[in-house]
């Protein structure tokens, strides 16, 4: 607790700002629409009966579910982070808040924590629906084609949940990245468009990484190396193929990906705070 007449950096204030951010996101239609769409797509995967090819159907449902989580989660991360942060500046609600004894870092971290909580809710619900759908379908397949399950269940449920956790981390990195961009952007549209472009670059970053490793020397190698260092490699979070194939995620791989994501998260958040502290509102 601060001494009278002093103000210390406060996790409590970050929590209050995060709570408001969650409330705003939940009361906006976009979150509900994306959540219902994603959950509906995952739940509807088992209704695609013409794709019924026995136990392989579980792989299809898993792939389909992972695709829905990734697609809608990415949209939610970019749009929600840009909207909830930039709207505070555009609508000048940040003026009233920052005229209180609030550090700008608390404002940025509060906004991020709120968006991360919204993303956790999204990933939690959609992964939960996916696990439920897989479980029900596997139960019915175990009854109809028991010989396919002689060596036990085919779905690695723990790995499905681990996939969800890794995606949440990836979405959080995307949200932090969007906050950096929104910190110096002049319009919300600019924040959203540039953020999606950067997300695309992050998905293709492994190409720069491979080029850098293959190049002997020179400017091209330096440029590729810088590109590979600045943008996170989102392929690090891409463990869906292994999980869909019924393989467990190696805990070392899981831990490495989590540490990689946490590092980029910390860097982007520090950058977002730095950019916003310099911004005149």
């Amino acid at each position: 607790m601060s001494a009278p007449g002093t103000v210390s950096f406060s996790l409590r204030r970050i929590g209050v700002i995060a709570e408001l951010t969650v409330l705003e996101a939940v009361r906006q239609r976009l979150f509900g629409v994306l959540l219902v769409l994603a959950a509906g797509m995952i739940a509807g995967a088992q209704l695609l009966r013409e794709f019924n090819f026995g136990s392989s159907e579980l792989k299809f449902i898993t792939d389909f579910g992972f695709g829905a989580v990734t697609l809608f989660g990415t949209i939610l991360a970019v749009v929600t982070a840009a909207q909830l942060f930039f709207a505070e500046i555009e609508n000048r609600t940040a003026l009233t808040l920052l005229a209180k004894p609030v550090f700008r870092a608390e404002f940025v971290l509060g906004k991020f924590a709120g968006v991360a909580a919204v993303l956790a809710l999204f990933v939690g619900v959609t992964t939960g629906v996916l696990v439920a759908v897989l479980w029900m379908r596997e139960q019915s397949l175990m009854a109809s084609v028991p010989e396919a399950f002689e060596r036990g269940r085919l779905v690695q449920y723990g790995s499905v949940v681990a996939f969800g956790a890794l995606q949440w981390l990836k979405f959080s990195v995307i949200a932090a990245l969007t906050l950096v961009i929104a910190g110096f952007a002049n319009t919300n549209l600019y924040s959203v468009v540039i953020s999606f472009l950067v997300v695309l670059i992050c998905h293709l970053q492994y190409l720069a990484h491979e080029s850098w490793r293959r190049m002997a020397s020179g400017v091209g190698r330096t440029a590729a190396m810088l590109l590979a260092a600045v943008f996170p490699n989102f392929q690090m979070f891409n463990v869906g193929d292994r999980v869909a194939a019924g393989q467990a995620i190696d805990p070392v791989v899981l831990g490495g990906s989590a540490a990689y994501g946490a590092l980029y998260l910390a860097v982007f958040l520090a950058l977002a705070v730095y950019v916003f502290r310099r911004r005149e509102i």
């Binding site: 204030r13 408001l20 009233t96 808040l97 920052l98 004894p101």
Partner: protein, 303 residues
């Protein structure tokens, strides 16, 4: 010997330039401004649009950095977050989180300002009632009128009981009745010993409410002083007389001439349109708000 308490706000040599383009074009919003706001007074900050009032307020609140000069609140530099411990701020044309209800908004700001959890609810209800929004407290802000938004803005500004209130155009776009109500609230704050900085274009209201004023033009201070000193015409006196006929007026004129004084003008005292509007509209609004006779099926009072 006791130390002199610092002024509520001190501005020393403040200059603020805004960069207009990457080529380095700048516009000077505030130009070498120096002024002090004494504690416990209502201080009017006046000036035309673009005169630098809002920019000065933003620098004082630490929302933007000065190009040159220093500002402080109760002796604490504006750059320090703790300078805002004792400040409530109502921005110009306030835009709050429209998805919140009035009570949720005030509760949010109370929590941000660290109002004790044990008295949070009571304090929020207290300030909502103080601004006269008790019946609308549960409604979303998106349904509030402009005057209601200004009043809920005032509630969030005072919820942590600050010593200094900075109100930027608190009556902009508000009808005369709402404007008078906000004026009443400002006077009540003054009675509580608060310092109020009021930026406004409504000069009549500023004259009624403020102890001191500063007039800015093109970012420079052009006039500062006590309202009474500034508006009182020196060397003249006004007599308001009832029942004076033409012959008595002639006698009075001669009597004044005999004493070396001159009767400069004889005119009827005038009221203001603002006062007439408020009296008539407020009366009708009060009549409309008064309880009506109970309808069928309700428990009636004896008539």
């Amino acid at each position: 010997m006791s130390a002199v308490p610092p002024p509520a706000i001190s501005v020393e040599g403040l200059t603020k330039d805004f960069l207009l383009s990457v080529r380095g074009y700048r516009v000077r919003a505030v130009d070498d401004l120096t002024l002090q706001v004494p504690a416990g007074q209502v201080f009017g900050l006046l000036g035309p649009n673009g005169s630098g009032k809002s920019t000065t307020i933003k620098v004082v609140l630490g929302l933007i950095e000065p190009t040159l000069g220093r500002t402080a609140i109760f002796g604490v530099r504006s750059a320090e977050v703790r300078s805002r411990l004792n400040v409530g701020y109502l921005p110009e044309n306030p835009n709050f989180h429209r998805f919140l209800s009035g009570r949720e908004l005030v509760t949010f700001y109370a929590r941000v300002c660290g109002v004790d959890r044990a008295r949070l609810r009571d304090r929020v209800d207290e300030v909502i009632e103080w601004v006269g929004l008790k019946d609308a407290a549960s409604r979303r802000l998106s349904t509030y009128s402009k005057g209601m938004l200004q009043r809920i803005g005032l509630a969030q500004a005072v919820v942590h009981d600050p010593r200094l209130l900075i109100l930027d155009e608190p009556t902009a776009g508000v009808d005369p009745v709402g404007s008078a109500e906000i004026g009443e609230l400002i006077l009540r704050l003054k009675a509580q010993g608060k310092t109020v900085v009021l930026s406004s274009h409504l000069l009549a209201q500023v004259e009624d409410l403020c102890d001191r004023i500063a007039i800015l033009n093109r970012g420079r201070l052009v006039l500062e002083g006590g309202v009474d000193d500034l508006v009182t015409e020196k060397g003249r006196d006004a007599l308001i007389v009832r029942g004076l006929d033409a012959s008595a007026l002639g006698d009075l004129r001669g009597w004044l001439d005999g004493r070396g004084a001159e009767l400069v003008a004889v005119e009827k005292p005038r009221t203001t349109l603002d006062r007439i509007f408020r009296e008539h509209v407020a009366e009708r609004m009060q009549a409309a708000d008064a309880p009506t006779a109970p309808g069928p099926g309700t428990e009636g009072r004896p008539r």
